[in-house]
């Protein structure tokens, strides 16, 4: 090809983009945000349901169960936004977990323990009764302990809910998320053993996950406190500093193959409890996260398959009922002794209904490691997750509104 030829433009309009448009993360983010936002608003205005339900429905419509526009590849591209959203939520939830409160109201601490134990017990025995293998039943039950921090937190925020049911629900969620995570991790290492991955892996992997995540949370907490001291009490500076550390911690935890959940929860808990001089200001990181949360739920919806409902539907109903009974009995049995007004124990139990996106993550990662085991687990858990992803936000809205803790004009 001569130089002269190369100078001749092949196409006078080649500055135009080629079709189909090449994927671009920012474009993807914007589209998911717009679609989710519109869905959330429609659901909220027409059906008076929490916007989250709309985000998830849009996700289902765009995902594999619907139009198939949001496939695995795009979901992976959107993962960065999902991770940031979870990081913000878990950090804020961690800050709300108040050990002093558990110490002062021991019945509340007992409620938390009872709720976790009974949820596990009820699901496990119900599944075993319906002929699910004990190992699957145990992992499914452990995953079921967790309530979705994202759903409870965001519905509470949408309603501007404030009061004992809201505060207690958030504390119980923080605890049951940690318990579920630790328990599931330990059970999974048992599966490693079952599938002969060897003793070393079985023992060292959970230790690496737990200790590593906690250590990361600890280091980042100190960094936040020292930076806060250096910055002085200036809210806008603290805000950017904390956001920076949250995003860093999310990224670093994924890079080190640690648990983002545990690391960010630990960051929140430790930053609150280690800050004895009150150097850090209580900045609201949730408000800024709103746009990430929309994408979080759209993506969650996209990864769920309505076909799971057909394969796992019946057992999922058993699973959901057993889980609800466990949580209700756990909360109600001790409600009288704990500092909570009569009647609100039931509402507290209802507020714990949403199932955690953690469930989906755990099932997926199990499937990657052990396709056969993961597929069996998926049949049980993901159908339940799908149902509760839609029912859960409504349950939380009902509980908080009925408890009189929502702001009037929103109720």
């Amino acid at each position: 090809m001569s130089a002269r030829e190369a100078c001749v433009p092949m196409n006078p309009l080649n500055y135009l983009p080629s079709f189909p448009l090449p994927p671009n993360p920012v474009l993807l983010f914007g589209l998911l945000l717009l679609a989710g936002f519109a869905g959330g608003e429609v659901v909220h205005r027409v059906l008076r349901l929490p916007r989250i339900v709309g985000y998830v429905l849009i996700g289902l419509a765009l995902g594999a169960s619907g139009l198939g526009l949001l496939g695995d590849k795009l979901v992976r591209e959107a993962q960065v936004f999902v991770d940031i959203a979870l990081g913000l939520i878990l950090f804020d939830l961690g800050r709300r977990l108040d050990f002093d409160w558990l110490r002062r109201d021991r019945w509340f601490a007992a409620t938390s323990a009872a709720e976790c134990a009974l949820t596990f017990g009820c699901i496990y025995f119900a599944l075993v009764y319906f002929d699910v293998q004990p190992l699957y039943a145990a992992v499914a039950a452990a995953i079921g302990i967790a309530t979705s921090p994202a759903v409870v937190m965001l519905v509470a925020q949408e309603l501007h809910a404030e009061g004992q049911v809201t505060e207690r629900a958030l504390n119980l969620v923080a605890i049951n998320s940690v318990v579920a995570f630790v328990f599931t991790t330990m059970l999974l290492s048992w599966i490693y053993h079952e599938y002969s991955a060897g003793w070393v892996t079985m023992l060292s992997h959970p230790v690496y996950l737990l200790a590593g995540s906690l250590l990361l949370g600890y280091v980042v907490s100190w960094a936040a406190i020292l930076l806060g001291r250096w910055l002085g009490k200036r809210e806008e500076l603290h805000f950017v500093m904390l956001l920076a550390l949250i995003v860093f911690a999310v990224g670093f935890a994924s890079a080190l193959k640690l648990s983002v959940l545990l690391a960010l929860l630990a960051f929140g808990v430790m930053v609150k409890n280690m800050d004895e001089n009150h150097d850090l200001m209580q900045v609201d990181v949730i408000k800024i996260g709103q746009m990430f949360f929309v994408v979080l739920f759209v993506v969650t919806g996209a990864t769920l398959h309505t076909s799971d409902l057909i394969t796992g539907g019946a057992i999922a109903v058993v699973y959901i009922l057993a889980r609800f009974i466990g949580k209700s009995v756990g909360v109600l049995s001790l409600a009288y002794f704990s500092g909570i007004r009569p009647g609100s124990g039931g509402l507290l139990a209802i507020a714990l209904t949403p199932m955690s996106g953690l469930a989906i993550v755990m099932v997926r990662s199990t499937m990657e490691l052990y396709p056969e085991f993961g597929a069996k687990l998926a049949a049980i858990v993901l159908a339940a997750a799908l149902i509760l992803e839609l029912v859960g936000p409504v349950a939380v809205q009902f509980a908080l509104t009925r408890a009189g803790e929502a702001r009037e004009e929103q109720a």
Binding site: D105, G163, H278, G339, R341, R407
Partner: protein, 379 residues
């Protein structure tokens, strides 16, 4: 409502009772919370003296003592109520604070406590009802009859700047330093039925006035008047309402002891005659106390002289010392005088806390730690 309620029920001489409006805070950012109903329910599960009641918004509670003759017993009861409320709050992860105003809450966030009376106040007064989320101490002094109540009210009006300066604890409002020592009373002044008792000398004249106002449909009961000092016929007391809630119950008891000794001095020695001049100068003197606290200057209606409020209080404490002694409140007044002489006040403490910590969240936190005391640690 019938006239019966305005029959003046005689009280034993110089008995006293205290009402304190208190702030309910969350333990995260120390903004106002809205758990009054749950908190009252929780306190009622425990044994405690006095009473705990709701107030106009869900972020407030009021505690009442029983009737006392002596400072010591009053202080003791206040501490026991404080401990009960503080422990219940700690169990619910709430904080309780004194102080006349919350430093940074936004009044638009407040919600009216759902009783008929409070809902009606919201209807009548609109946004003022939510802005009324301010916190005062009321001191009741027992008097033998309605005439004595009016006499005491008129003479105490001369000393209103004392009460304001001694209790001032609302320097911050809505996130700003107001430059006042007590900004709370500015909020009270917005109400149409705030102000002072009419200049009448006998209970029968007062009844005539009251019935005329009721005839116009302006008021239904004495509760509708938000006067700085008002006779309370059904209790047989004169109620001083200009105090900001102090940062501690101990200080609340000291203020009650001062009021009681002053009332005894006024009613037994009858040192002054009621004067319209007091009311002519009233708003100026009241403003001086709100704005500058102990350093403010008041114009004495009787001597026609300008005096610094701090000096005026110290003089008065010397004058009434004998009566304080008779009532068992001598030590209390000495303690109060020492604080005044050192120019100490709750408003100053709050401003210093802000200077040393740099955020109003810290101020609210320290306010609650000061009020709750050991309950936070030991519960």
């Amino acid at each position: 409502m019938t006239d019966e309620t305005l029959d003046f029920k005689p009280s034993s001489g110089f008995s006293m009772g205290v009402e304190l409006e208190l702030q309910i805070l969350n333990s995260r950012d120390y903004n106002l919370a809205r758990d009054a109903a749950d908190l009252i329910g929780q306190v009622e599960k425990t044994r405690h003296p006095g009473a705990v009641k709701p107030e106009i918004t869900e972020s407030m509670i009021e505690i009442n003592t029983s009737i006392h003759d002596e400072y010591g017993a009053l202080a003791e009861e206040l501490k026991r109520i404080r401990d009960a409320v503080a422990q219940a709050a700690a169990r619910m992860n709430l904080r309780i604070a004194g102080g006349g105003s919350h430093p940074f809450h936004k009044w638009t966030d407040r919600r009216i406590y759902p009783t008929e009376r409070f809902k009606r106040l919201l209807e009548v007064y609109g946004y003022l009802a939510k802005q009324f989320t301010i916190f005062g101490q009321h001191v009741h002094i027992g008097v033998p009859n309605g005439d004595a109540a009016l006499y005491l009210t008129h003479i105490l009006s001369r000393y209103v700047p004392h009460f304001i300066a001694l209790s001032a604890s609302s320097p911050f409002q809505q996130g700003e330093d107001t430059s006042y020592q007590s900004s709370r009373l500015n909020t009270v002044s917005a109400f149409p039925l705030s102000g002072q008792v009419p200049f009448v000398q006998s209970w029968s004249e007062f009844l005539e006035y009251f019935n005329r106002m009721r005839g116009f449909g302006i008021v239904e009961s004495m509760k509708d008047y938000y006067w700085d000092i008002r006779p309370k016929p059904e209790y047989g007391t004169v109620e001083i309402r200009v105090f900001d809630t102090p940062l501690t119950v101990e200080r609340a008891a000291l203020l009650a002891a001062y009021s009681q000794s002053l009332a005894r001095y006024i009613l037994t020695e009858r040192p002054l005659a009621p004067s319209r001049d007091v009311y002519a100068l009233y708003n100026y003197n009241r403003f001086q106390a709100c704005r500058y606290g102990l350093a403010g200057q008041l114009v004495d209606a009787y001597t026609q002289r300008r005096v610094v409020i701090r000096e005026d209080i110290l003089d008065m404490i010397r004058v009434i010392a004998r009566h304080a002694g008779e009532l068992g409140g001598a030590a209390a007044l000495e303690q109060l005088a020492a604080g005044v002489a050192a120019d100490g006040s709750d408003a100053r403490w709050l401003r210093e806390s802000y200077r040393s910590h740099g955020s109003l969240n810290d101020v609210a936190r320290m306010q609650s730690e000061l009020w709750m005391g050991s309950a936070l640690v030991s519960a």
